[in-house]
Symmetry: C2
């Protein structure tokens, strides 16, 4: 009973969604550090004490938001992981559709350990797919790390400049500037 209702009760879902939306909105307005649990609960029209019935503190709510955002990304790119340009284009299209959670992700980079773990995981996955060139000057771990992290940097630039180029063009740019050079310099041809 109670185990099922914890998942299905409309009030719970509604409360959590309201808190999530409030956190995202307030973080973009004032910055994550500046907002309080009281701010969040007021914006969400939720009692202050009710917040703590769902999340142990502000950081736990953030984790919840980031986890959803990152899960979306991983599901999106998994099917096309071997086509860099297509992967990057899909990522930018997804950012275009829901920019706010991504903005939150970017401006809370150092708060949560989630992003570093996703980076390490993605780098590892990439190293298992490609064959390092033993004669290369560039260690494969550096090339893999560079490919992963630089994409996020360009997403950040793109969002801060109000998405001046369409996702397909960003896919071409990232591929030419980052993916192709890294693959040619550090790995053997497919």
């Amino acid at each position: 009973m109670s185990e099922i209702s914890t998942l299905t009760d409309k009030r719970i879902n509604q409360t959590r969604r309201a808190l999530t939306n409030a956190l995202i909105a307030l973080t973009l307005e004032k910055g994550y550090d500046a907002i309080t649990v009281r701010d969040i609960s007021e914006r969400a029209n939720i009692g202050y004490a009710t917040f703590f019935r769902h999340f142990s503190d502000k950081d736990a709510l953030l984790e919840d938001v980031l986890e959803g955002t990152l899960t979306d990304f991983l599901g999106l790119i998994r099917p096309v992981i071997n086509d860099p340009e297509r992967t990057v284009t899909l990522v930018f299209e997804h950012v275009e559709q829901t920019p706010d959670p991504v903005r939150v992700l970017l401006c809370t980079r150092n708060v949560s350990p989630l992003l570093p773990r996703i980076f390490a995981f993605s780098s590892q996955a990439m190293l298992e797919t490609l064959t390092p060139n033993p004669k290369s000057l560039i260690p494969p771990e550096i090339a893999a790390h560079h490919m992963i992290v630089s994409i996020l940097e360009l997403i950040e630039w793109w969002l801060e400049h109000e998405m001046p180029y369409p996702p397909a063009q960003m896919g071409k740019i990232v591929n030419a500037l980052i993916m192709q050079p890294a693959r040619e310099l550090a790995f053997l041809e497919k």
Copy 2:
């Protein structure tokens, strides 16, 4: 009198240096968000109220530390700004000599507006030095931004992996992986 002694009184310098060192040490131990003004003043062997005679809050002390660190960097690279490999090598040598303030800089990226401003400034300076290739797929602002930001990413990787390659090699790697491709793709030959 008071104006001169404000700058020369040994007690002031000693207090500020102790607070600076305490902030760096505690940030690396527990993370910037987790430390309190009381933590800092206790570690520095300074009275709690004395902290506020020097800095309005924790963030102001951090700004002071970061400003010094960034000023060091800018002074270091200014003379050799047109030689990418040498510039990068010097930067990595400097990080090797004083890694702790750089670690603090990296893990407080989103706290202070200083780093974004330095990035914007450096990108602008780079754009004024190089000639964009009008036929390039890649906008020069993206190439410039990429060159600046990616170096910091590799510094972060290098520090987190305990500096596994010497600065000179990191200079070669960064030049081959980032600087050369960006220059060839987005700018005209010097």
